[in-house]
């Protein structure tokens, strides 16, 4: 888990602290870190944001699911809920709304330093969204041909975005509304501190671990400003088990509750033995 917000002056990313959305050239920074243990199975790479109110009522409702589902009329005439990110310069915004507008757009790259040589680690960007979201909830507009540029004709990009929605990715099945980074972002978080899946690192073969212990560095293209509202940004690497990621809270809670239950059971049993049998019908007063 690496915090790369860059609030501290010593942080390499401190220089990027006050970037804005459209700063060119983008500010980049590099953070070195060491893995103590190697990751044996598949590794998941997350970005985490803090103090970011994705659960604010006005934020949550500021989207148009019809538009995101590929409805052509909504594409050109987005829902009023999207205000003030509904239209820009008299053109409808696609995708509209505050959620889409604030999409996370840092780029993270992971490199391993092995005896001085830098090896780029392959990050897989597909398979990070729910199947239902990717296949049911989000769909690109339909029309003649598959040219997304044509299909999004007449719309404009969200205010904060550097490029239009149909230029999010090169691959057609990960572009437009069905771009998985976009889908993940659109699934709003319940709490102001949250993390979202960014990339997958697959285990290549059975001979070596997915990520060996050793030195790594993270190359960050720092586009996403959070400093103004005291937000924090993190990068997290994690593996998972059958019940999801590491979850100390649940474990501790179960142990605590279990022992309380046991203790309570013993106490109640004692009490019951001591006092329980004094209730005979004899004391029913009449």
């Amino acid at each position: 888990q690496i915090d790369y917000t860059g609030t501290e002056p010593s942080s390499p990313c401190n220089k990027c602290l006050n970037v804005s959305w459209d700063s060119t050239p983008p500010c980049t920074c590099i953070i070195n870190f060491t893995l103590e243990h190697s990751f044996e199975s598949n590794v998941f790479m997350y970005y985490g944001l803090s103090n970011f109110y994705q659960n604010h009522r006005r934020y949550v409702k500021s989207r148009d699911d019809s538009q995101l589902n590929g409805d052509n009329s909504s594409l050109l005439n987005p829902s009023k809920e999207c205000e003030p990110y509904r239209t820009n310069e008299d053109k409808p915004i696609a995708p509209c709304g505050a959620i889409a507008n604030s999409m996370f757009n840092d780029t993270l790259e992971l490199y391993r330093i092995d005896n001085g040589t830098e090896t780029s680690i392959t990050l897989i960007k597909k398979g990070i969204a729910w199947w239902t979201d990717k296949n049911v909830k989000f769909r690109n507009p339909t029309g003649d041909g598959n040219n997304l540029t044509a299909l999004f004709q007449g719309t404009t990009k969200p205010v904060n975005w550097p490029k239009a929605v149909y230029m999010l990715d090169m691959e057609p099945d990960n572009n437009g509304f069905i771009n998985e980074d976009f889908i993940v972002w659109m699934r709003t978080a319940a709490l102001p501190t949250f993390r979202k899946l960014y990339r997958l690192i697959e285990r290549k073969n059975n001979l070596q671990p997915t990520l060996q212990a050793g030195k790594y560095f993270l190359n960050i293209t720092y586009n996403y400003p959070v400093h103004s509202f005291d937000g924090r940004k993190r990068m997290i690497l994690s593996t998972i088990s059958w019940m999801g990621g590491k979850n100390p809270f649940l474990g501790i809670a179960y142990i605590t509750v279990g022992s309380i239950c046991f203790f309570l059971g013993v106490v109640l049993l004692i009490i019951h033995h001591k006092y329980g049998n004094r209730n005979t019908s004899a004391d029913i007063p009449n």
Binding site: S66, E83, T188, A190
Partner: protein, 1150 residues
């Protein structure tokens, strides 16, 4: 047999209620003339709506309810986009549901009203139109019409009696539906019209103007104490709601000021919102909307549904169905059920309620020999239950078959010709004011003024001394088959002071003899000294009879010398025509002749109690319910009944009798009574244990800690003083310290005042039970009014909230239905508040994590359906079916009733416990998922902590927790409970998956945003682990607490349940009510509910069909007097009774 609405005697000064109309001008039989005045038609309309007006009128009425208006207001709030935190349908769906249910209920009620109106309006009566009698429907009868009524017809309107087929324009009417009294009332036509022949009447008031309609209106709306408490609590919750709103609004303002301002790069403020303060203001309203579910609209509807269910249980209760009268119990008000479980004071009428108003000749003492004990073959006194055959009266063709007597020796004595016995029955057959009617040969009907007299004459009839007929001057008696006509010389009438009546007759042999019957206290003093020995024996018998609660009369006779009688009769005549002090003179003359009489014996009449009255009273007393008897009867009668139904016992330390006539006397008597009680308790306190003192010091009033049992008997006059403002508290304290209170000679108004007094000073639930019109005021005043139905009078039933036909059902109504209703309602309310707090408060906690933005935790569909689908039916099932102990047990252990009286199951403390539990649950419900989700991921590595998954997790665990909780609360599982609880869970998951399905999303992408959420979230083990953890942590303390309470401080009901579970060998002790004979220290007096003046009526011959010759010989007597006397009587003791609450049908006997 019945005819409504008729009040001829008020004819001269007709006053319409409200006093607007001073007089009515009516020309008989002239419709055109009467049309001019626009009198109301005789069409009765009690219905409220018709098809066209139903919707608007009903909606208008419904929106007058605060709750409905409140929800309408919320709905409007939700339509403002800046505020709307929830979609509009979350409010409108429940609101429409509630409005529809209420509207359907109103519509059905009104439909039945239409039906009954039609039935009444279409009854037929004969109307004289244009000189021809025509059948006319009631609704077409007009003011001024002349109506012909025949025997046993219903009266169509308030009528003026013009004439009747009886002599002197008399007619007998039954006013049962007006005032509940079943005896005939005499009405006389005004003299001018009385010569007209056939009975005909003039319609005076029609339709809405009749007495019936005037009186039937506007029953005061009764509310239960739980209702009031509920309303207070709802207000508090509103206060709480506003507080939460304010806190969150302040939070919102601060947040927007500190964080939101900076966050504007991603989330700019809404248009028009320029400051954090204004945003806070808006968020206040938003939070009011989402937090309003703490007082859901379904609360009131659910309460109504539960009460309706309980009412049906009462209606359907076979054990409260009287087969004899074919009347089931009926809950006429559906809103008071739970209050039946909290009754502390019962005010009961006597006649018709405790007693059947049937007098039975049960024992007698003749010449020192007592007859009437039930005997078996060997001549021993038989035990109850193994009754031998009743005495066979078949030798006597004139015998009344309904009469039963159990002691054959009396009949033998008659047959053997015992002269004393013969004289005894001769007296009974001669000395009375009964009228006989012989419809066909041998078929005798007695019209008795009081049931006592009827019983005595019937007894004589069966023993062979048949009173056959009378004329003003003679009485014909069949003595053992021989017709003998006695000459009736004088009737020395009954009155309250004399407490006796006599007749002077001349036998065919020419002997003049005076027969007298009267109260023992009076009569025994007037006997000839030679009776001394016989008197002693008879007194013993009297004591014995009185001890059994029988009404006793002493019979005596005296032979009069011809010359003495001549002289006396002369003086009597002079006194009778004297201009002044007539009554006094007569009284003195009567007194003179009724002297030195010879004792014949004594009779004992059983005032038949209703079935099971003593048992019921005993059990209700054990249940700590205080029973006060309020009766119009005389003190002796009332006390007598008090003894026979075990309200008063000889074990009682003392029975105080308050009979003072002045304020001072009454005050003095009350003071003395209290002093005595205080003294006794003090002396006992000294000698007694320390504990007693301790407990008594805790009580507010010293008087409530009185040791020993006392009873208070208070008279009408004294009561009038005792109810004055400065003495009422004293009276109440004294009365409440007593075990039993009997108020006699009270007017209906006083009955109501007594109830009012108790209501005012004791915060106790009162129940009044009665059967007649004189109880109406009391029934209406008390918290709960119970009417005895099945008798002919329905006035009390009309005013009552519950009705059934036997007093003994009261026990079941209170101890079983009332107790259960109370228990269920309390459990329901506790659970209801709990579940809504658990549900709603989660939003409050979430507010701290979502920038106080009024974001809801749950899906909006869940919010809509939570109260009306997911959790409504299980709690309704519990509220309707739950029971802690089975019905037999609650009868067996009347003490189980006490929690209700003390208001233990639902009060402010219980309420706060429920609320606390709800809040505790909501805290866990939010923070456990919060803790888990903070950095959990799914098993495919994706994020878990998205808002929608969080919502589904919290909602699911909430539904499971409240379902488990209702499972814990349910004490009595029926199939319906199971069905509803499992069904609700199933419905939750079914609806959840349906709402999150692809299909709905495809149709309305913006409405069903949670697509695919259910299967994605609920497939995660982490989510289920979280749900399980939440459930355990929420439920565990509750289980532990209940377990501890069961072990350490069990309630009585727990213990009862436990013993039932264990089923000890020890069988139910049969607590059979043994009839304990009371060793009499007191006895009854002249127990006639007799009206003075009837003797005069007989002697005047006015009520007999006589030849005009016979009549003319009697015109010399003060003939007009009797009606005057009757009226005077009515006026004096009936002045309040006579302001008749009365309303329905009277019977007309022509």
């Amino acid at each position: 047999m019945t005819v409504p609405r008729e009040m001829p005697e008020k004819w001269p000064r007709v006053r319409a209620p409200g006093g607007a109309e001073e007089e009515r001008r009516v020309r008989a039989n002239a419709r055109e003339y009467n049309e001019k005045f626009q009198y109301a038609s005789n069409c009765i309309k009690t219905s409220k709506y018709n098809i066209v007006t139903f919707l608007p009128v009903n909606l208008f009425e419904q929106f007058q309810e605060v709750a409905n208006t409140y929800f309408l207001f919320l709905l409007i709030l939700q339509l403002i986009p800046q505020i709307s935190s929830l979609s509009w349908f979350t409010t409108i769906v429940p609101l429409v549901l509630v409005l529809t249910i209420t509207a359907v209920k109103d519509a059905t009620d009104d439909y039945f009203r239409h039906k009954s109106d039609n039935q009444v309006n279409n009854r037929q009566s004969q109307v004289l139109i244009g000189g021809v009698l025509r059948q006319e429907q009631w609704m077409n009868v007009r003011v001024g019409d002349i109506i012909k009524l025949e025997n046993n017809q219903f009266v169509a309107a308030d009528l003026l009696l013009l004439s009747s087929s009886e002599p002197h324009g008399l007619c007998y009417i039954e006013t049962a539906e007006l005032d509940g009294e079943t005896n005939m009332k005499v009405r006389q036509a005004i003299p001018v019209t009385s010569e007209l022949g056939d009975t005909s009447k003039l319609a005076r008031f029609d339709g809405p103007d009749t007495k019936l309609m005037q009186n039937s209106g506007r029953t005061k709306f009764k509310r239960t104490s739980i209702d009031r408490l509920m309303n207070t609590l709802v207000l508090w919750i509103f206060g709480f709601l506003v507080c939460m709103g304010v806190i969150l609004a302040i939070g919102n303002a601060i947040w927007e000021h500190e964080v939101g301002v900076c966050f504007q790069i991603y989330l700019p403020w809404d248009e028009g919102v320029h400051s954090a303060f204004f945003s806070g203001f808006l968020s206040f309203w938003s939070y009011i909307i989402i937090l309003n579910t703490v007082v859901p609209i379904s609360l009131y509807v659910s309460v109504e549904v539960i009460r309706l269910g309980h009412s049906y249980f009462i209606n359907w209760d076979k054990k409260m169905y009287c087969a004899k009268r074919r009347t089931p119990a009926e809950a006429r008000t559906t809103t008071l059920n739970e209050e039946l479980g909290q009754v502390e004071y019962i005010f009961s009428d006597k006649t018709g309620t405790l007693t059947q108003n049937i007098m039975v000749f049960s024992k007698c003492s003749v010449n020192g020999h007592s007859y009437g004990d039930v005997q078996d073959v060997l001549g021993h006194k038989a035990e109850l239950g193994e009754r031998p055959e009743p005495v066979d009266f078949s030798f006597n063709p004139l015998a009344d078959l309904r009469f039963q007597f159990w002691d054959p020796s009396l009949l033998e004595a008659v047959k053997l010709g015992d002269p004393h016995v013969h004289e005894f029955f001769r007296l009974l057959s001669l000395c009375h004011t009964v009228m006989s009617e012989e419809k066909s040969e041998g078929e005798l009907f007695y019209k008795a003024q009081s049931p006592d007299e009827g019983a005595l004459v019937t007894a004589a009839r069966n023993f062979g001394f048949v009173f056959r007929s009378r004329t003003p001057k003679t009485i014909t008696v069949h003595e053992l088959g021989r017709a003998i006509t006695y000459q009736l010389l004088a009737i020395l009438d009954f009155n309250n002071i004399r407490k006796r009546m006599s007749v002077i007759v001349r036998s065919p042999e020419g002997k003049i003899r005076l027969y007298c019957k009267g109260a023992d206290t009076i009569l025994l003093e007037r006997l000839h000294p030679i009776n001394q020995d016989l008197t002693n024996v008879t007194t013993d018998h009297l004591n014995e009879y009185a001890g059994e609660g029988l009404r006793t009369l002493v019979l005596a006779y005296k032979d009069l010398e011809e010359s003495y009688y001549e002289d006396w009769s002369e003086r009597l005549h002079r006194a009778g025509s004297a201009p002044e002090a007539r009554e006094d003179r007569l009284a003195r003359l009567y007194d003179e002749v009724e002297h030195d009489m010879m004792l014949l014996g004594a009779t004992a009449i059983e005032d038949k109690l209703q079935q099971g009255v003593p048992e019921t009273i005993a059990i209700l007393t054990l249940a700590n319910i205080k029973i006060w008897v309020l009766t119009g009867d005389k003190q002796e009668t009332a006390v007598n009944i008090g003894y026979s139904c075990k309200m008063l016992t000889d074990d009682m330390t003392e029975v105080f009798v308050v009979t003072g006539h002045t304020v001072l006397e009454v005050r003095e008597e009350l003071r003395k009574a209290r002093e005595k009680m205080m003294d006794a308790s003090r002396s006992m306190g000294n000698g007694f244990s320390y504990q007693e003192k301790l407990s008594s010091s805790k009580l507010t009033s010293v008087l409530e800690a009185i040791a020993g049992e006392y009873a208070l008997v208070i008279n009408g006059h004294s009561l009038a003083h005792a109810l004055e403002a400065d003495m009422e508290v004293e009276f109440l304290e004294t009365a409440c310290a007593c075990k039993a209170v009997i108020c006699c000679r009270v007017t209906p108004l006083q009955k109501a005042q007594v109830v009012e007094l108790v209501k005012k000073y004791k915060k106790a639930v009162t129940l009044a039970i009665g059967d007649g019109a004189n109880d109406v005021s009391m029934i209406k005043t008390a918290h709960i009014g119970v009417g005895i139905s099945g008798q002919e009078g329905i006035q009390a039933v009309l005013a009552s909230d519950y009705s059934f036909s036997q007093f003994k059902f009261l026990q079941r109504l209170l101890l079983v239905h009332g107790r259960w209703s109370y228990l269920r309602m309390c459990k329901f309310l506790c659970y209801f508040f709990y579940k809504n707090f658990a549900f709603t408060m989660v939003h409050f906690w979430f507010g701290f994590f979502c920038g106080f933005s009024a974001q809801t935790v749950y899906d909006q569909y869940f919010i809509t359906l939570y109260n009306i689908v997911y959790t409504s039916l299980p709690v309704l099932a519990m509220g309707v079916f739950d029971q802690d102990v089975p019905e037999q047990r609650s009868m067996e252990y009347p003490k189980l009733y006490e929690p209700g009286q003390l208001n233990l199951l639902f009060n402010k403390r219980e309420f706060f416990i429920c609320i606390a539990q709800g809040i505790y649950t909501s805290v866990l419900m939010f923070f456990i998922p919060y803790g888990v989700f903070a950095d959990a991921t799914r098993d495919d590595g994706a994020q878990l902590a998205d808002y929608q998954s969080f919502a589904v997790t919290v909602a699911t665990s909430l539904v499971i927790v409240v379902s488990v909780q209702i499972g814990l609360d349910t004490g009595f599982w029926t199939a319906i409970n199971h069905f509803f609880i499992w069904g609700s869970l199933a419905a939750y998951f079914a609806i959840l998956f349906a709402m999150h399905s692809d299909g709905l999303f495809q149709m309305f992408p913006n409405q069903f945003r949670f697509v695919g959420n259910a299967q994605n979230t609920l497939a995660q083990p982490t989510v289920w682990l979280t749900i399980a953890l939440t459930t355990v942590v929420c439920i565990m303390p509750v289980v532990a607490f209940r377990f501890l309470k069961l072990d350490l401080k069990p309630e009585l009901s727990d213990t009862v349940r436990y013993t039932q579970l264990v089923r000890k060998k020890q069988k139910t002790q049969h607590r059979c009510m043994r009839r304990v004979g009371r060793v009499g220290s007191r006895r009854s007096g002249y127990a006639f509910s007799h009206q003075e003046g009837f003797g005069e009526l007989i002697m005047s011959g006015k009520n007999m069909r006589l030849s005009s010759l016979a009549l003319s010989s009697f015109t010399a007597r003060p003939s007009a007097g009797w009606i005057e006397t009757l009226r005077k009587k009515k006026g004096s003791d009936g002045s309040t009774a006579g302001s008749p609450s009365g309303a329905a049908d009277k019977t007309l006997k022509v």
